[in-house]
Symmetry: C2
Subunit: 285 residues, 2 copies
């Protein structure tokens, strides 16, 4: 039985009740438009915990001016059906004004980790993410929270936040789920036209080139970056970044290193896609 | 029996254990140098809850450059004796590097409420306060937390933070405790020379003049402010502010109103004192 709650107090109560019954809580924060990537987080939460809570909230704070807040897909009914099918225990789907009432004026922000990559392209994005997730963590209470590593930087930032603020939350980053042809699943993929969908593979192609080179012994960040960048630059309309950075600090390593994050963000028409691979750790995308 | 813990994990465990034994937790965050003001918070916590936790931490984040971080009184042994006398259950006295390890980079900040009064004089002060108190709240877990209303703005800001971030924390503001002659208790009073100690009464005198005028029907914020300001200006070496503002929003009311906060900050030599009264609510200081 999946319970759907709309109010923060009801969500808190549901999680408190679960713990009072000696059940551990697994949290899967989402913006809805659920796909197999989200469902893999739910499955992971089910493996690790006794009571699975999914939140569905398109968080206005994390969208900048001119971004896709208004057109972001809202598919609550099918999201709920997907949660019911997977025996999610509670779905929290609040209205924006119950999350941000009139006097709301608090922000949680993270330093260095939010500056590069997405932080350069989407100023204030991560402040919106950390603020809403802090609220969700506080409502859920002690739990294990699942995030997809497609949003790699977000995962690192939220781990940092939970640690720095001594939150009683375990933050788990789960592997990227991909289409058979390699495209990372994203709620934004549905924006793509048929021809854009084909060109979207430029990112995967770039990540694979870097991965293959890595496996053949190429460990220079600059070279790996160039290999990944080439197909993205030729297939996409605009490239925000192709970066080769340290997977923990997100800054450029001084030289060859034992793990390198290749992270990409690029536009096809009005759609912005991101993807990444950690060389020395992840399988071939 | 008062337990003293030094590590965040030990403090979390002590509070978790109390709740596991069905005891409610009362939290009294302090910077040590405990005086009767703090002890009144402890007594209030004892009345309201089953398990009283006192934290003692001189938080470097909330001191600006040139402020009194280095000379701030540290009197841990007598603080612990005071806590033992009052049967405090646990004292958490962490070292700075266990609160702020090397990679620490998270900040909790509040908007409008932090701008006026102390916020104008001590930029970044409240960011330091909200960040450390967020950590203490998260370590303590669900509890009722006591703050003195001498730091009126701080109390309002922390209430706002707990509410905005959906923290499972009740924030209680407790009445100011005063010396027989009216001076509000403060760890900083010990800095005062004998002659400064006498002149310090200028603040109380100002608050009393405003209170008396209020009781005689004077409700104009400007007039009340002027009445309070006069003795502060004549007795103190430097006045940061004497303000008459709305007690909830901390902004100047448009006209006469049913409650007015008179808040004062002023310097005697190298010592900065603050005090306040809510007209229409508090007794005569």
């Amino acid at each position: 039985m999946t319970t759907v709650v709309r109010k923060p107090a009801g969500f808190r109560q549901a999680c408190d009740d679960a713990r009072a019954g000696s059940r551990t809580v697994g949290l899967v924060p989402t913006m809805g438009a659920l796909h197999e990537g989200h469902f893999s987080l739910i499955e992971e939460a089910k493996k690790r915990t006794d009571f699975v809570a999914v939140t569905i909230f398109v968080n206005p704070l994390q969208f900048g001016p001119g971004e896709d807040l208004d057109r972001y897909p809202r598919t609550l009914e099918s999201d709920l059906a997907g949660c019911r099918e997977r025996d999610v225990d509670v779905v929290f789907a609040p209205a924006p004004d119950s999350m941000y009432p009139a006097q709301f004026q608090t922000q949680v922000s993270i330093g260095e980790l939010t500056k590069p990559l997405e932080g350069e392209c989407r100023p204030a994005h991560f402040d919106g993410v950390t603020t809403v997730v802090a609220k969700l963590f506080n409502l859920a209470g002690p739990c294990t929270a699942m995030f997809g590593r497609k949003d790699y930087q977000q995962w690192k930032i939220l781990s940092r936040m939970a640690h720095d603020l001594d939150m009683p939350i375990g933050v788990v980053g789960c592997p990227i789920v991909r289409e058979p042809d390699g495209l990372a699943l994203s709620s934004r993929n549905r924006y793509l036209s048929a021809s854009e969908r084909k060109r979207a593979l430029g990112i995967v192609c770039g990540l694979r080139r870097a991965h293959d080179a890595w496996c053949e012994g190429e460990h220079s960040p600059d070279t790996l970056r160039s290999l990944a960048a080439e197909p993205v630059q030729s297939d996409f309309d605009r490239v925000d970044y192709v970066a080769a950075v340290d997977p923990d600090t997100l800054v450029k390593p001084a030289g060859p290193s034992s793990r390198v994050l290749i992270a990409v963000a690029a536009h096809l028409g009005t759609t912005r896609l991101i993807d990444n691979v950690v060389l020395g750790e992840d399988p071939r995308p």
